[in-house]
């Protein structure tokens, strides 16, 4: 089972995503804002197999998380970005910055799990 970092400022989304992933046996670490997410990724070898990051967050947004992952040396951690339905432009920008996949809010548990599974299998 994988270790997944969830970077999300919405308290309910944190609980939902963590519960959905933990139900499948994954280990979840939650960062409540972008800055803490960046801090967790600043260690030499971040122990995460996957990152799920919201785009709109205080202090540092999802794009900064993507930039951090892009600049890090060693293995590249896949990132799933989470956005609102209306943020099409931001999703495109996320893909240009190297996001592996995206999910829209409100999320669907089954869809999220399938996307996570697909990415974990391919990396």
């Amino acid at each position: 089972m994988a270790h997944i970092l969830v970077v999300e400022d919405n308290e309910i989304m944190q609980k939902l995503v963590a519960a959905i992933l933990e139900r499948e046996g994954h280990t979840v670490t939650v960062a409540p804002n972008g800055k803490e997410g960046l801090d967790l990724l600043s260690v030499p070898e971040p122990p995460y197999d996957l990152i799920i990051a919201d785009i709109m967050m205080p202090y540092a947004n999802g794009f900064e998380i993507l930039n951090k992952v892009n600049k890090s040396e060693g293995r590249r951690i896949p990132v799933i970005i989470v956005s609102n339905l209306s943020n099409e432009q931001m999703v495109l920008e996320g893909f240009q910055l190297g996001a592996a996949d995206y999910v829209t809010k409100p999320i669907m548990a089954g869809e999220l799990l399938l996307r996570v599974k697909r990415l974990l299998n391919s990396h």
Binding site: M13, L16, P106
Partner: protein, 378 residues
């Protein structure tokens, strides 16, 4: 009781009238300031109590939702309606008071805003199984408009249908917020005729109302779109007709074109301008000739819409007419829109544009260049 005040009263009685009046005003000001302070303190205390209750109950509610709904394996295997009700886990003494039930409703809504699918459906089932819809219904029957708005928002968030007889009168409420929430709820919750309230709208749909309604209509999933020609033909409310014209264009409803063409004969020139604009946007080439024929008898706003429509229709038959308007009209807006129409009539308009860039007056050339710039919209 007020004996201690008497000496002061006697003293005040001996003062000049102006000073007495000033003293009354000062006393009144002090009373109102105190009242305002008490009201602020009361509001803050209520907020403090609410926050305290939320801090105590929200983790309990979240824990129950996560444990019995999100983590519930059975939900993934069966449809929400088929699985065993999880409501019994929520029947705790802490969740019995009215305020606690309201917190539970708010929390279920917050969760439902973030998750859809089976879990979203299970949250709705939980709301109904716990009979929280009765609390919502009570709020809808309350005399306070903000309680009614709250109830409507709860119904919309939970996708619980409301009877037309309850909702329709509220769509015409004198209170703007209630009216808007009721229209929103009607569109979202009515299964068969989400636009029926157009039949009973008595006041004007303001521009802001139209923007809000447009957003709701175009973002609601599985909405039944009617033929808007019905209101274009029969509605006596001009703002409804104007709004329906915009919806016809958005949904590219070609079945409504005959009704829009009939509207060209209306006496209201604002509505006529909207109809001309809709015909241009729908690219109804059959009306090109009629538009040119009626042009000279129209007020300025209709003339401008006709020129815009001709540009959208791109027919070369009336290129000379548009060119004449560009060269000879005295009104700047007419000349600008004629220039834009010629530019839009690509490719038939291209030789005319090239000719005008050489032969037209300096001012007209400037207008033409302005219209040729794709970065400038107006």
């Amino acid at each position: 009781m007020v004996e201690w005040l008497l000496p002061y009263y006697k003293d005040i009685g001996g003062l000049p009238v102006v000073v007495q009046i000033a003293l009354v005003f000062i006393l009144l000001a002090i009373c109102f300031t105190l009242l305002a302070y008490f009201s602020i303190l009361r509001g803050r205390y209520r907020g403090y109590v609410r926050a305290k209750r939320q801090n105590r109950l929200n983790p309990i509610i979240d824990g129950l939702i996560v444990e019995h709904i999100v983590m519930n394996e059975a939900l993934n295997k069966a449809k929400a309606a088929e699985h065993e009700s999880v409501a019994m886990h929520f029947q705790l003494p802490e969740l019995e008071p009215k305020w606690a039930r309201q917190l539970l409703i708010d929390r279920i809504i917050d969760f439902r805003k973030n998750i859809r699918g089976t879990v979203g459906e299970a949250l709705r089932t939980l709301y109904l199984d716990l009979e929280l819809d009765r609390d919502t219904q009570r709020k809808l029957k309350s005399g306070s408009w903000n309680k009614k708005v709250q109830a409507l928002n709860e119904y919309v968030s939970m996708g619980v249908p409301v009877a037309d007889v309850t909702l329709l009168p509220l769509t015409n409420s004198r209170n703007r917020e209630l009216r808007s929430a009721a229209r929103h709820a009607y569109i979202k919750l009515s299964r068969n005729e989400p636009f029926k309230f157009f039949d009973v709208v008595s006041d004007n749909l303001l521009m802001w109302d139209q923007v809000e309604l447009f957003r709701i209509i175009t973002t609601t999933e599985k909405i039944v779109i009617p033929n808007f020609a019905r209101w274009i033909t029969y509605s006596t409310n001009k703002s409804v007709v104007s709004f329906c014209l915009k919806l016809v264009v958005h949904f590219n409803q070609t079945a409504a074109i005959p009704a829009i063409i009939k509207l060209l004969g209306t006496k209201d020139h604002y509505l006529r301008a909207d109809a001309i604009s809709a015909l241009g946007k729908l690219e109804v080439n059959e009306v090109e000739h009629d538009l040119v024929e009626m042009y000279n008898n129209q007020p300025l706003n209709c003339q401008i819409e006709i020129l815009k429509a001709l540009g959208r229709l791109k027919g070369k038959a009336h290129l000379d007419f548009v060119k004449k308007e560009f060269l000879h009209a005295s009104d700047f807006e007419v000349r600008k829109n004629a220039a834009r129409a010629i530019v839009n009539m690509y490719p038939s308009g291209s030789p005319v544009v090239e000719e005008l860039l050489v032969s037209a007056t300096e001012e007209n050339q400037l207008i033409l260049r302005h219209c040729m710039n794709p970065l400038i919209k107006h």
